[in-house]
């Protein structure tokens, strides 16, 4: 168990290090970084002074060493726009993104899993067909379009919900629905096929033969055993949820990590971009570590090595 945790930790460090290196290289090798960082109408003298000050006149390996030395200490430099520590800015936005992601995960689990189970249990009935149509449509609907349409219906027409920003629970409704929509479609499809697999197993036949009530057969014997593929997909999709958060947060002006990253990219504020890449890759690997540890709890046969 300990060796496993250690090797996973080493992998995490490697993933984070490689992601940062890749983004650093792309930024540095794609032309003059100062011109990327600076507004269009700047004087040549100022450019040179700025270059000197930020150390861009040094050779790339020296710059890279300096970057790594800073990154190890959690120092990604100062945001060019906000004039503040980049990592601090990114971490400040993290709770908002977590709140959004957690709400939509909860929504997914409350809607998609029951939908998938119902479809599997009532296989080839009108209910199952309706479920398939909903999930196929859900998978094809782009999140940002769904967001715009929800805003039109619930904010512009009905005036029930705010168009964006933060505040009360009402602000959370549409962003979490949009973020949950795509994810839910995949989870519902996977739940259906996982439950169907388990329903064919002999211990389910045994449970039924013992005279257990159907709710217990499904609720206890089937669900727990079909949880592994569902949890695996949820973990793998975590990265795509972070990607979806980028779009959702932009549409609904939600002050999270995704919106900050988009703005930083638009403003060419690369210290923030690098800090965001760092935080996203750490969060993603931690989520997958949690998923691996969950396996052992869901299925005691799984021993982590």
């Amino acid at each position: 168990m300990r060796a496993y945790a250690l090797s996973r930790l080493a992998q995490t460090v490697l993933v984070v290090f490689l992601s940062l290196t890749a983004v650093f290289m792309m930024v540095r090798l794609s032309g003059d970084p100062v011109l990327l960082f600076m507004p269009m109408d700047i004087q040549a003298k100022d450019v040179n002074e700025f270059r000197q000050r930020l150390g861009f006149n040094d050779p790339v390996p020296v710059q890279y060493a300096r970057f790594v030395a800073g990154a190890v200490r959690g120092d990604f430099g100062e945001s060019l726009r906000y004039r503040r520590d980049a990592l601090g800015l990114v971490l400040e936005r993290l709770p908002a993104t977590f709140l959004l992601a957690a709400t939509s995960l909860l929504l997914t689990m409350c809607v998609a899993v029951p939908l998938g189970v119902l479809s599997a249990v009532h296989r080839n009935t009108p209910l199952d067909h309706a479920g398939t149509v909903v999930t196929v449509l859900g998978q094809a609907t782009p999140g940002f379009w769904l967001g715009l349409m929800l805003i039109y219906v619930f904010s512009v027409r009905l005036r029930w919900l705010p168009t964006g920003g933060t505040g009360g629970l009402a602000h959370l409704v549409m962003p979490s629905i949009v973020l949950a929509a795509f994810f839910s479609a995949r989870i519902a499809r996977l739940t259906r096929s996982a439950v169907l697999d388990v329903l064919g197993a002999e211990y389910i036949l045994t449970a039924r033969a013992k005279g257990l009530r159907e709710t217990r057969v499904i609720g206890k014997h089937t669900l727990r055993n079909s949880a592994i593929p569902i949890v695996t997909l949820a973990g793998l999709e975590a990265g795509q949820v972070l990607g979806g958060a980028v779009i959702t947060e932009t549409i609904f002006a939600w002050p999270g990590l995704g919106r900050l990253t988009v703005q930083a990219l638009l403003n060419r504020d690369f210290p923030i971009v690098l800090a965001a890449v760092f935080v996203v890759s750490v969060v993603y690997t931690l989520i997958n570590l949690t998923v691996d540890l969950l396996y052992g709890w869901l299925d005691p046969r799984v021993r982590l090595r």
């Binding site: 080839n124 196929v136 379009w145 715009l148 349409m149 039109y152 979806g244 932009t250 990219l265 971009v273």
Partner: protein
């Protein structure tokens, strides 16, 4: 069982029919469209759907929305096809070599692929775009750079299993060169997987392109791309719902038809494949 089979066939026919319809609409856009997608007509700006001469209405500059949506289909399919071909070729060859060679460069390549997969696809493509610059060519490049990994992984896995099969062993034993074994015997057996992955990736590339253009990093206005049209429509949501509704519906319809086609291809060519 027959009900399931019928449903499968229904989905397949729906997928094929819709895909053909989208391709025809995109191909014949210059002839189907009632107007030039870039021609402005300020007198008729923001006309609602059903206005004379403008079945889907017009935008803030009086450009015909139907023409823009149809031309948007051309652009979306063009980007989708280019990206899928590039990623399939690059990822396919790398996966083929990585599965066949099994020395340390291959292992390193696959580790790098794992690292890349751990990063959100949209965020990666968007970051590349923000750095290398905007525009049509760059968005194809950034989507390809972000998307080749899936092929490399799937193809490598397939090659590892095909390599063990008797006919491949026999071909090597007969003294066939390694390159010939690779291209004559291994490659044809992994092509179905490549086709299935390509069809399943196609819609995610189109949607990703629209999302990136929506955020302002992709195809720039006035080129009629669905993503940038949706982005512009946000400012007019209170007065002109059609500007947001139709480009998005076209995008969803395209994604739906290609998804259905992809599901069918997977069921017939490679039912075990999980992407």
């Amino acid at each position: 069982m027959s009900a399931a089979l019928r449903r499968c066939q229904l989905k397949a026919w729906l997928g094929i029919g819709l895909t053909v319809a989208v391709v025809v609409a995109a191909g014949a856009a210059p002839w189907l469209a009632p107007h030039d997608p870039l021609a402005t007509d300020f007198a008729a700006s923001l006309s609602p759907p059903g206005s004379p001469g403008h079945p889907l209405g017009t935008d803030q500059l009086g450009r015909d929305l139907l023409a823009r949506v149809l031309h948007g289909a051309r652009l979306a399919l063009f980007i989708g096809v280019c990206t899928v071909v590039i990623t399939a070729a690059v990822g396919g060859v790398l996966g083929l070599v990585a599965g066949f060679v099994e020395r340390w460069p291959a292992a390193l390549l696959m580790r790098l692929a794992d690292v890349q997969l751990s990063f959100p696809f949209i965020l990666l493509a968007m970051t590349i775009n923000a750095i290398v610059g905007l525009g049509l060519r760059n968005i194809i490049l950034s989507l390809s750079a972000a998307g080749w990994v899936v092929y490399a992984r799937v193809v490598r896995g397939e090659v590892l299993s095909v390599k063990q099969r008797d006919f491949v062993q026999a071909a090597s034993a007969l003294g066939m060169s390694r390159l010939r074994v690779l291209f004559r015997h291994v490659l044809p057996n992994v092509v179905p997987s490549i086709i299935v992955v390509a069809s399943l990736q196609f819609s995610s590339f189109i949607v990703a392109e629209a999302a990136i253009s929506f955020l302002g990093f992709g195809v720039q206005p006035p080129t009629p791309a669905w993503g940038s049209m949706l982005s512009e429509s946000r400012d007019f949501l209170y007065v002109a719902w059609w500007l947001a509704a139709f480009p998005g519906a076209a995008l969803a319809l395209t994604a739906l038809s290609v998804n259905l086609l992809g599901d069918w291809l997977r069921d017939t060519l490679d039912p075990k494949l999980r992407v």
